[in-house]
């Protein structure tokens, strides 16, 4: 992850503050920064969303294409994730040590694990004809700015983009030789939407001193030795968890962190869904904010 230079005195200051449940910017240990979510920002995609979490900005674009289903699972579509940077990792002096490509691989592999279960997204609805055609959703994540806590921002952006995704309806017809033909419906507004109720959100908990914090900035991350990434659905089910960082964690503190992560993650879903539905209901009257802010 990108690193900042932190002096020992600053580390001690941050550590003592967190011990008393007060972070550098005045938040409590389980508070998120100001988050802005906007969907439908890129018109060429089937679904898109931009999320700004403090100084971290992430853009997700989803394109649906018709492809062949996976050989072992013939009646489901699938998702493909890819994470990339806006500027090359070498150009930004912040990203020393680990190359941007490695971090992109780590992020996309974690996303595969998060969605690697039956209930996050109804993949059977993405099937067109079993064994032959299915919808493949290419989820491309572009990291615009990094100020810590990439996982959370990416997961919220993916949830918003999936909510916004409009997949055109197709129907299969058999032509004279018996081959199958796919026809897209003529009406551009006749499309299928995805049910994102069960899509999980990722919560990153950083262990700093003896306590853990949610939504750590780069500065706080430099003071922590290890973090735990948990993806939680709105019902509190944990779909993926992973420990990152160079340090080790006590089993007791892992249990505490999982419990806190579940609480925070569960509380994140209702306001997000409400916001997405509100934004949707504004329809054409919505003022697009875009990127110039």
């Amino acid at each position: 992850m990108a690193t900042v230079q932190v002096s020992e005195a600053e580390k001690v200051y941050i550590l003592h503050g967190i011990r008393d449940d007060l972070r550098v910017d005045g938040r409590g240990c389980e508070d998120y920064r100001h988050m802005e979510v906007e969907t439908d920002v890129v018109s060429n995609t089937d679904g898109s969303a931009k999320v700004t979490l403090g100084h971290t900005a992430v853009l997700v674009g989803i394109k649906a294409e018709i492809g062949k289903p996976r050989p072992m699972i013939a009646n489901e579509g699938y998702l493909e994730f890819f994470v990339d940077w806006w500027v090359s990792a070498n150009a930004t002096p912040e990203f020393e040590g680990r190359g941007g490509e490695e971090l992109g691989t780590e992020l996309s592999n974690t996303l595969y694990k998060v969605f690697n279960n039956q209930h996050s997204l109804d993949l059977k609805s993405l099937c067109i004809s079993p064994g032959e055609h299915c919808w493949v959703l290419y989820v491309d994540v572009l990291l615009l700015q990094c100020d810590g806590n990439l996982y959370d921002a990416i997961s919220v952006a993916i949830k918003a983009a999936l909510f916004n995704t409009k997949i055109p309806r197709v129907h299969i017809s058999t032509d004279e030789e018996g081959g199958k033909e796919i026809e897209l419906s003529d009406d551009p507004y006749d499309c299928m939407r995805l049910d994102v109720e069960n899509v999980p959100c990722i919560v990153t908990l950083c262990k700093i001193g003896h306590r853990h914090v949610v939504d750590a900035t780069l500065l706080e991350k430099a003071c922590s030795v290890a973090s735990l990434i948990i993806s939680v659905t709105h019902r509190g089910i944990i779909t993926c968890s992973r420990k990152v960082g160079r340090g080790s964690l006590d089993p007791e503190s892992i249990c505490e962190m999982i419990e806190a992560g579940k609480r925070v993650g569960k509380a994140l879903h209702p306001p997000l869904m409400k916001l997405l539905q509100q934004e949707e209901s504004l329809g054409k009257k919505r003022q697009k904010v875009g990127f110039l802010c």
């Binding site: 050989p71 072992m72 493909e80 890819f82 020393e96 040590g97 490695e102 691989t105 780590e106 996309s108 592999n109 694990k113 998060v114 690697n116 279960n117 039956q118 209930h119 290890a226 735990l228 659905t233 509190g236 089910i237 944990i238 779909t239 993926c240 968890s241 992973r242 420990k243 990152v244 960082g245 160079r246 340090g247 080790s248 964690l249 006590d250 089993p251 892992i254 249990c255 999982i258 419990e259 579940k262």
Partner: protein
């Protein structure tokens, strides 16, 4: 999807004959004893065979066999690195590389993409790093190369154990050994140290409490250095699973200790009483 450009794969159109098998893969039952006679819902790990010092060219090496899972690890180093940035001056660097032989899984290399290998390597590094005293090797690099010869379940857990044994065999200073254990939660019951069919059996319709969990543990310091889970589990299931994996690690500990003592004795036999 990033593709693997280093290996020469067969033609794209070739498929595994398992796809044409007329009998559908039957889901493994979630009650009753397991296929290899071990118990469910108990910390019943497979008996483990370990040996150190197999590869003469490497500084340290180890081989682990658990059931049919076979993993080999070599450690090279510490070697000097060019001074890249300030962090290299103060402490060493640990690089890990985990590779799967193309014949190691039931399907030839089909689910093994380049990025999945990198993901395993990364998790291996995160599990091993807390245990190695890197500050004692400034400006150096220690390379850990793991090769999976046969994948019959719990591959990451056994790779972690094998790698930490190889590091100990190489004489790299460590705070503690790192042991790995994994678990598969299947509905209401769990199986520890799952085999490949147990790990990948999917039971449609049972919904919650379906997941896999791997824990890397430092036994004498009581610290968890690596944790990885996927599937869908409730919080209590996950925490109970972590405790179960920790117990599983303790079960393997004496065997690993014995193997290391034997390796040391072989390398430097005690002075003869005279």
């Amino acid at each position: 999807m990033p593709t693997d450009t280093k290996r020469v794969r067969g033609p794209e159109a070739s498929q595994s004959p398992l796809l044409f098998w007329s009998r559908p893969a039957k889901a493994l039952p979630s009650h009753g004893p397991r296929a290899d006679g071990r118990q469910r819902d108990q910390v019943d790990v497979r008996p483990v065979f370990v040996r150190c010092g197999l590869v003469s060219q490497a500084k340290g090496s180890a081989y682990i066999e658990a059931g049919n899972t076979k993993v080999l690890c070599c450690v090279y180093g510490p070697r000097e690195t060019e001074r890249r940035d300030e962090t290299d001056m103060k402490s060493g660097r640990l690089t890990t590389d985990m590779r799967f032989a193309p014949f190691s899984c039931p399907e030839r290399g089909s689910w093994i993409q380049g990025s999945q290998d990198k993901d395993f390597s990364l998790m291996l590094q995160e599990s091993l790093q807390p245990a190695v005293c890197l500050h004692k090797y400034p400006r150096s690099q220690i390379e850990v190369n793991v090769m999976v010869l046969e994948n019959s379940g719990s591959i990451l857990a056994h790779a972690v154990t094998c790698a930490s044994m190889a590091l100990a065999d190489a004489g790299i200073e460590m705070y503690d050994l790192v042991l790995g254990c994994s678990l598969r939660q299947d509905g209401g019951s769990f199986v520890v140290d799952p085999t490949y069919p147990e790990e990948n059996s999917c039971r449609s319709g049972s919904g919650e409490k379906q997941g896999r969990l791997t824990v890397a543990f430092l036994p004498s310091l009581n610290q968890v250095s690596g944790l990885q889970s996927d599937g869908e589990m409730a919080e209590e299931t996950l925490t109970a699973g972590i405790r179960t994996c920790i117990e599983g690690c303790y079960k393997v500990y004496p065997v690993i200790q014995q193997a290391l003592i034997k390796a040391v004795r072989r390398a430097a036999p005690p002075p003869a009483e005279s």
